[in-house]
Symmetry: C2
Subunit: 766 residues, 2 copies
């Protein structure tokens, strides 16, 4: 099998698979008490949000990634879900540990509530039954569920090289059953390497706490524990159940037997360390038997308090190497392997930090020796397949050699130092702070436009399924219930007509249409020929005017003469404009400031004004120092990955200062504003300032009318206003934009952060 794989697949391809993670986490307050508040409304009905829902308790958030083909994407998405959730739970935190925070007695544990619909009632009642049967406190244990299947191409290739006369589904089932059995055999290693529940709070289940020593106020442990969650104090069936992994039919049969015997009610009550999963888990038995194993669910993994996502990327790499190891590892015919594996689990869970022995085919073997043995095999495999994960395996090898490298040891150490609540809360606070600093972006999608990231983030939050159709084009598909919407670059949607966009794309046509509808636009003329424009020049000489090409954007090819221009300058400007379009426009220049009105569905959601890069003096620091401080703002970055750009004190800025008899070492006096450039582009460090609440409604109405005139549902209206404090001020609509950026309104330099994405989603019918 190894050779077969080697021939067909590269290491890179072998690192692919189908990965999905579910991560639970309790919401707690600032004292580390289980939160009693309801699950945030913005996440919508829990039953229908595929990303963010609750598990047993109303206060137990469950984050679910979609299935990705790469480990990195999965991990990043999980971090993203964390960020989204952390930003919506206000003063609360996500408790970063499988073992609960401070929890009340059963009667006070809030069970998750759902919609009044039939499935909602069922879900709630099921939780009530669990509470009665297993007690509430153990239900509050959180964990990582790791869902995995191999790349189908790999299984197909193995099938093709297979000599037995099996059908494909049986063959594939065979693969997953072998992996499942091996997983159970070797799971102790995963628990050792990833276990993080070496300690519990005194409010946890009394029978557990009372067996342990208080290692610090309120924190209890024995010596050497590694994963209480995987111990008898974890969550398990009342009787140990060993389903058969010989075949799918036998697996189904054994579970049906458990149900018949009254141990469990349904397959989902079987709390085994691994589960075979079907294509349609709502029709579990029949789907599994008809279509075979779809994927495996690993359930042994504790939340890692040292990772925001609850599991480290490195550990996910290791788990996939482990998957491949389990696939290749030959089995022997030792019969009591299930019971033995359970014993090993218990030993590791309770005493994993000690130098213990485990059972291997009935014989005792040192945990370390066996662990190193497995790692050696994995290293050989890694080299053979070119998986390039030597570093990961080396690190795990060291961990086997020294228990002090385990998460279990490390968190214990922190708890002893800071206390159980403090140690965990400080981690949670740090993760929340990180989420805040990255609030403008969606983790894992930083290569996409900010506006798209913001929209995707809002969609995910609301449980709208997001699919990327073309990443480089920021082309996504949103889906919830019956409503499928395609969106490109956040503001190109089904809600605007094509012709509306084409009108906006053509400045001359825009003006004609606006003018027709009585909207004030700059007076002027269009020219298709250079000669005609030059002939008509006499009317414009000496007047305050703007010369611009008909269709380009971003100010390219535009000349502005606020004080008027002579014939030579005008001729030049006309020539420049014609370089960018076949049609140019000469228009009156409107004095004043330019404001961007964002109009969505006949409402002004934001008004923004841009000013050139600048610093404000404090009478103490130099311009250079002031720039450094200003650049520390987490909204400022480089290369358009942030809402604002860092100010660059480049040659052009220095020259600009020089013209004003200043240098970067000049110390501006207190409150003195020093501009560092002429242009107000955000891309050169300019500031964006929110004016939404300052501009009088009369101008907002004009902006809305302008959008309506071209039939636009989403529209950036650029307006020159001489003096916005004067309702009668001279003004003109100078341009309409069909693809307005939303991030500039969401995250301005100064002023209120506007929520735009939710209005866009509302417009799209969500």
């Amino acid at each position: 099998m190894i050779k077969q794989i080697q021939q067909v697949f590269s290491g890179k391809e072998l690192m692919k698979g189908n990965f999905g993670i579910e991560r639970e986490g309790l919401r707690c307050d600032q004292e580390g008490q289980l939160a009693r508040t309801p699950h945030p409304k913005v996440f919508g009905e829990k039953l229908f949000n595929p990303y963010i829902t609750t598990d047993f308790s109303e206060s137990q958030v469950e984050l679910i990634t979609p299935v990705f083909q790469s480990i990195e994407e999965t991990h990043k998405f999980l971090e993203g879900l964390y960020d989204i959730t952390a930003m919506e739970i206000e003063q609360e935190y996500i408790w970063p540990q499988s073992m609960p925070c401070i929890i009340p007695e059963d009667k006070d544990i809030p069970i998750a509530t759902f919609c009044g619909c039939e499935p909602g009632k069922e879900a709630h009642n099921y939780r009530k039954k669990l509470l009665a049967k297993y007690g509430g406190k153990k239900q509050l244990l959180s964990g990582i569920h790791y869902n995995f299947s191999f790349d189908e191409d790999l299984i197909k290739a193995l099938y093709e090289g297979n000599e037995q006369e099996q059908d494909y589904i049986t063959f594939r089932n065979g693969i997953y059953l072998k992996v499942a059995r091996n997983y159970l055999r070797y799971r102790w290693l995963l628990i050792y390497l990833l276990g993080s529940t070496s300690i519990m709070h005194e409010s946890y289940v009394e029978e557990c706490v009372k067996q342990l020593d208080e290692v610090r106020d309120e924190a209890y442990s024995n010596k050497g524990a590694l994963s209480y969650r995987n111990s008898e104090c974890g969550y398990a069936n009342q009787v140990e159940l060993f389903p058969s992994y010989d075949s799918v039919d036998k697996y189904v049969e054994s579970i049906e037997q458990f149900i018949k015997q009254g141990f469990i009610e349904s397959p989902k009550e079987l709390y085994s360390q691994i589960r075979l999963k079907a294509y349609d888990n709502s029709q579990f038995f029949s789907s599994l038997q008809d279509k075979g194993v779809f994927y495996l669910e690993y359930r042994s993994i504790d939340i890692n308090p040292f990772d925001k996502a609850g599991i480290k990327l490195e550990d996910l790499y290791f788990m996939h190497l482990f998957n491949l190891f389990l696939l290749l590892k030959e089995e022997n015919d030792y019969t009591d392997w299930q019971e033995e594996a359970l014993q090993n689990q218990r030993r590791i869970a309770r005493f994993g930090q000690r130098n213990i022995t485990l059972l291997k085919d009935g014989e005792e073997i040192s945990k370390e020796i066996w662990g190193l043995e497995i790692l050696e095999e994995m290293k050989t495999m890694n080299a053979r397949f070119g998986l390039e994960k030597e570093g990961v395996l080396e690190h795990m090898t060291e961990k086997i050699r020294s228990y002090k490298l385990t998460y279990a040891y490390k968190i214990m150490k922190e708890v002893k130092k800071q206390g159980y609540i403090e140690a965990h809360l400080n981690l949670a606070k740090q993760y929340k702070q990180e989420a805040y600093h990255k609030r403008y972006r969606l983790n894992g999608y930083e290569d996409m436009e900010l506006s798209t990231q913001i929209l995707m983030k809002e969609a995910i939050k609301r449980g709208i399924k997001v699919e990327i159709l073309d990443r480089s084009e920021n082309f996504i598909c949103l889906e919830k219930g019956e409503n499928i919407q395609y969106v490109r670059q956040a503001t190109k949607t089904s809600k605007d007509d094509y012709i509306t966009v084409l009108i906006m794309e053509n400045k001359a046509v825009t003006k004609k249409v606006l003018d027709k509808q009585g909207i004030t636009v700059p007076q002027g003329k269009s020219f298709n020929k250079k000669e005609e424009a030059i002939q008509a020049m006499q009317y414009f000489v000496g007047q305050p005017i703007v010369v611009k090409p008909k269709s380009t954007n971003f100010g390219v090819g535009i000349s502005i003469f606020p004080e008027g221009a002579n014939k030579a300058d005008l001729t030049k400007a006309i020539e420049i404009a014609f370089e960018h379009d076949q049609t140019i426009m000469i228009e009156e220049f409107i004095n004043g400031k330019e404001y961007r009105f964002l109009v969505v569905d006949d409402q002004v959601l934001g008004i923004l004004h841009r000013v050139p890069a600048n610093v404000i003096g404090d009478g103490e620091h130099s311009i250079k120092e002031l720039v450094e401080v200003k650049n520390e703002d987490s909204l400022r970055g480089k290369g358009y990955r942030t809402p604002l750009e860092k100010i660059n004190l480049d040659e052009s800025a220095k020259l600009f200062l020089k013209h004003k008899n200043m240098s970067i070492d000049t110390i501006p006096s207190k409150n003195e504003i020093v501009y560092l450039r002429e242009n107000s582009n955000i891309s050169t460090g300019g500031d964006s300032i929110d004016y939404t609440d300052r501009i009088p409604s009369i101008f907002k109405e004009t902006a809305i009318q302008a959008a309506q005139a071209v039939g636009a549902k989403i529209c950036g209206v650029d307006m020159m206003i001489e003096d916005y404090t004067d309702q009668e001020s001279r003004y003109a609509v100078i341009e309409l934009n069909f693809n307005p950026a939303i991030h500039i309104h969401c995250y301005p330099y100064k002023g209120k952060e506007r929520k735009i994405a939710d209005s866009l989603l509302a417009l799209l019918g969500y």
Copy 2:
């Protein structure tokens, strides 16, 4: 005044003005009998079609141009209206003469009918009154009404140079009143130069006919007549009415007096040779008094039988020079000028072909001497202002010298030769034939895309107002009643969502969306990186595949391997595709022929298949000769101005033939098809063949479903079908186009011409 004008305006600018023409014409049958059929339904309700309506009789078409700033545009549009009308009246013709064709007695003349609405009833009843008062036959006289005003900039400039203390409106009224008076004084010259009604049919008004001699069967004239329409046998008030042209107030007052005296019922019954027109002619008096003269209407001009439009471009140039002459020409204080001018009109009308004298300020003067005198003044003016119309003035000078150059003489000559009916019908047939040959285009708009011309033509036909917003972009505005629609390139409209277009623009996204909706598309993969595509190449080697960039059109960057390709060829193809896009696709190649389905509003309006340039042998002619014959088709032209391109026997065609052991001199055997190129582009002389009625509905349904899958209302669906005669044939949708050309379906090389524009207009709500 001359100096003032000279300083500010160029000759080119002085040739501008505001021009609009109304041209009447009787519909007649193939025998020259007045048509008894109703006005074609396609023109809609006559009251609301601003371009094509009826005058007095149901059989009297009236063509109305909008106001243009240039003479050329006006004339071309008028020709276009003629073409449109001629194509809709089936076996009938537009009688090309002011004097009627064969007409029945009053009781059998069909009076125009209108909608049952109030204004419709009014219009019909008004015509009934006219019939009773003036008789029906004279109502059937047709003519040209020329509506004119100066470029407002000219009047403004004159006003600024004016020293009197007048308000602007009074000043402008003064200008138009002077022009009107001078027009009346010198109108005899216009009648001489343009008069074309030297003859009448015996079915015309008996009192007129009986005074004349039969110059040929059924045709009557005296000797020397020039314009019976402008004679007593023309259409005039029962009493000669001379309104005052001293001021607008006096003009209004005098007309009110005529009404009070019972001569006429309303201003529009005043059949003067010139009319002052108001901004709002439905509120004639008040509008004229409040806002002044808006334009002038000249009513002396006969239909010119020798021009399709009814008036020659040269004569329109002359008329505008005449306008400028009337503006400049100083008046004297001779009081009886109105009566004198009427006398001159009568003399010219009845005896203009003779060497007669006219009255000038009470003195007799030779027509020729006076005429040459005026022409001399006009020539001086022409030179001074740089109007560059020497040729026109020279021709008119010759006409004054020789009556044989008049239209009146020429048509008389033709009638004598062919007979009254034949002579005119032959001209009408010729114009109709011309209209047919140009049926695919809209006269005057040949620089625009054919699809746009076709849509505009259909809109004009239906009385939908067409405005061009951006000519080079084929951006137009349609308006009828409340419904304003913007359209670019005929098929970019408000009916398609922007995102629908963006989906279609991106082939990879199109495929994903189609696939999601269960539409069969070629199987394949997208790649964002060259390395990835090359790595995946192993799956495609030797397979029939297509390699293409994600977004480009027109086949650029596409490589097709129907027989499969080796690694080297594939690598090359991948590189080529990446030169055109960041994303490329490798897809299975579907065998068969490609068909373009045009789907509009969930209906397949046309299916087209293209074949490479070819000829079919007759066993007699050489390839070269066969190409020459094929190129004679009026649908074939050069430079994309026609639905098909002429076949070019260039080097590439010769080489292609050489490979098949042929040359352009080869004589193919009977029915042998000889292809001249590999590619089937229309641009290289390919043929378009209509398959609309041949393709089974199952494929049509697929095309409709494909359009629906992306939400497209207007969509070109490109489908490969292995064998369309087999309903179960293999097929795949390979591409969707959001801007499908319509002209290819409207005017295919072979097969039925499909009406597409009317469906587009219906989709747009018209």
